[in-house]
Amino acid sequence: MQRRRLMAGAAALLTMAGTTLAGANLAMAADKPVKLGLVAKSLGNGFFDAANKGANEAAKELGGVEIIYTGPTTTTAEGQIEVLNALIAQRVDAIAISANDPDAVAPTLKKAQARGIKVMSFDSGVAEDARTVHLAPSSDALIGEACLNLISDAIGGSGKIAILSATPTSTNQNVWIGVMKKDLAEDRFKGLDLVTIAYGDDLADKSYRETQALLKQHPDIQGIISPTTIGIVAGAKAIEDQGLSGKVWITGLGLPSELEGHVKSGTVKSFAIWNPIDLGYSTAQIAVQMVRTPDAVGPGKTVKVGRVGEIAFDDKGLGAMAKPFTYDKSNVEEFAKIF
């Protein structure tokens, strides 16, 4: 009996607490903050933690923005759907997602849109009709150009270079190499002479052996571009093991945490990869504008994103943030802690 009374009391208390919260909510409705759900592929991934850092930076800059950083434990579409349903229930104003599966999350995102929530994707996109815009970290043209700029800088503007790619059929790498070949024909890169392309198949040991062979066959090579995170590490190791550090330079796309040592030892002067902090910053900037000025963001429009500059979206709503971010001695240590 006593227990029952206790329960009744507790229930009454709960109801009261509930009403108070609801009341507080109404009071805040006047100038309620923009709530943005930032959905990662999975939690515990340094890349997205860094993006969240950038998003919060944007939130502070814009004012009146609350970032809800969330994601599933494992990189599954089902997990992301549960997270999305929770965000929809909280009536967030906007959702920005890096999707584990572009199709499977689409029905849920459409449901969010039907309930008045603005949806965009970043990093890894979703089906076109399930979002307003997609923000890619960079574009093929910018990546190719960045690689040439980096090698040109490393070897002092002129000399023989080679490319260490992934597999001969890798879509991304082939597109980037295509861009590089096209840019090499231009005047600004006329000092660079592309001798050969080697394929390390994105395997550490094969990339290492291919680099060794490359250095033996072409002793006059001064620089290697590896537009793959596995190739650049293996290549740097091969150059160091051959004692060619400081004579042959390697650059390309890599992860700060893997390349920190090679930057310090001098084999890698600088390298590039998208900056996840800037990506999160831009994503939050765009998402908030989608809520505050819905007409300003959409396919075919150019959006101002604070310190990053302007991002143009094409008629399919695809936009590229910026050229890849360059890492060197001055900042690699800081970013190595992140990803």
Partner: protein, 338 residues
């Protein structure tokens, strides 16, 4: 099937033994679960202002219905002292079968039939391995778990099948009436059927008898192997059905569909009070456990609790709910002892 007097008597005896010995703690278990469900519901409404909302409550059901539909036959299987670890693999393979049927241009009925049929066949293979080749269930289904998902990966690789007709979306996204989803109605109907079969029919009592003591059941004239085979087939069929729902909800098939669900499904079953040693369990418990899992995961999601913490909570809940009754029993025994 004709029954001799002796068989019947043995049945009744086994049945009476099972029920009279366990009826009371049984009931207490479900009350405990109900209490936890209500407490979680109260806690959720208190912690988040968004919880008590018809749309939220409707969305919430999607967190558990598909898993719960597989948990029902899983409960029967575990009560009969078997287990099926391959259910998520079956879901993947069934989804691929449906995707290919849809891609080949067949209509809605063929797609759904294909999903369920693929599930039944996978389940029958599990059943055959256990009953014909005498492979222990856990070993057989760990094997087929990899086999089924492996086939799904081999067929699809990194590709996706999404040629589903628009009407297909109803199963996983449609509402039977107002905000009550088709999935929820289907689950409740299946739960009702499972409950009646387990608790009010000879078949149900035999399943309990098999789980309580397979040898005794065999000598009482129950065709133990036949029951086992059909239970595996049934579980496979339910996984196929769940795959129809999930595939419809996602609108696409990838080989990674429902990865890791087997553990969630078994968790619901065990949380529902089904003894992993067999011979004990109720459908009401499983339904309550499914509801509880949905409430806990959705409630924590509403508070933006990271998934890592969520799995710790679910694990703690499982251990807590299982340990509590044992603790009570020991305390009572100790009190009686002094």
């Amino acid at each position: 099937m004709s029954l001799s007097i002796e068989q019947l008597a043995a049945d009744v005896r086994a049945d009476r033994e099972v029920h009279s010995a366990r009826k009371r703690p049984f009931m207490r278990w479900e009350w405990l679960l109900l209490l936890v469900v209500l407490a979680t519901f109260g806690l959720n409404s208190w912690a988040s202002p968004y919880f008590l909302d018809p749309y939220t409550l409707s969305d919430l059901t999607y967190n558990f219905t598909e898993k719960a539909i597989v948990a029902l036959p899983m409960a029967l299987l575990i009560i009969a002292r078997e287990i099926d670890i391959s259910v998520a693999g079956i879901m993947a393979l069934a989804s691929v079968a449906m995707g290919m049927t849809a891609a080949a241009g067949y209509g809605l009925p063929a797609i759904v039939a294909m999903g369920v049929l693929a599930g039944l066949l996978c389940g029958a293979l599990n059943g055959a391995l256990v009953t014909l080749f005498k492979v222990p269930a856990i070993v057989a289904t760990i094997g087929t778990m990899s086999l089924y998902r492996g086939i799904a990966y081999a067929v699809l690789g990194d590709k996706v099948l999404k040629a589903y007709p628009p009407d297909f979306a109803y199963f996983g996204q449609g509402y039977a009436f107002s905000l009550v989803s088709f999935e929820l109605v289907l689950f409740l109907a299946l739960a009702l059927v499972s409950g009646i079969v387990l608790h009010f029919t000879v078949v149900g009592r035999r399943i309990v008898a098999i789980g309580s003591n397979p040898t005794a059941a065999l000598f009482s004239g129950i065709r133990v192997e036949r029951y086992r085979f059909w239970l595996f087939t049934l579980t496979g069929g339910a996984a196929g059905l769940a795959s129809v729902l999930l595939t419809s909800r996602l609108g696409s098939t990838r080989p990674s569909i429902a990865v890791g669900w087997e553990l969630d499904i078994i968790t619901i079953t065990i949380l529902g009070g089904v003894s992993i040693l067999g011979g004990k369990g109720s459908i009401v418990g499983v339904v309550l456990a499914a509801l509880l899992m949905g409430l806990v995961t959705f409630g924590l999601g509403l508070l933006n609790v990271p998934g890592i913490v969520m799995s710790i909570v679910v694990g703690g809940l499982l251990i807590g709910v299982i340990a509590l009754p044992i603790l009570f029993r020991q305390m009572r025994a100790a009190r009686r002892g002094t």
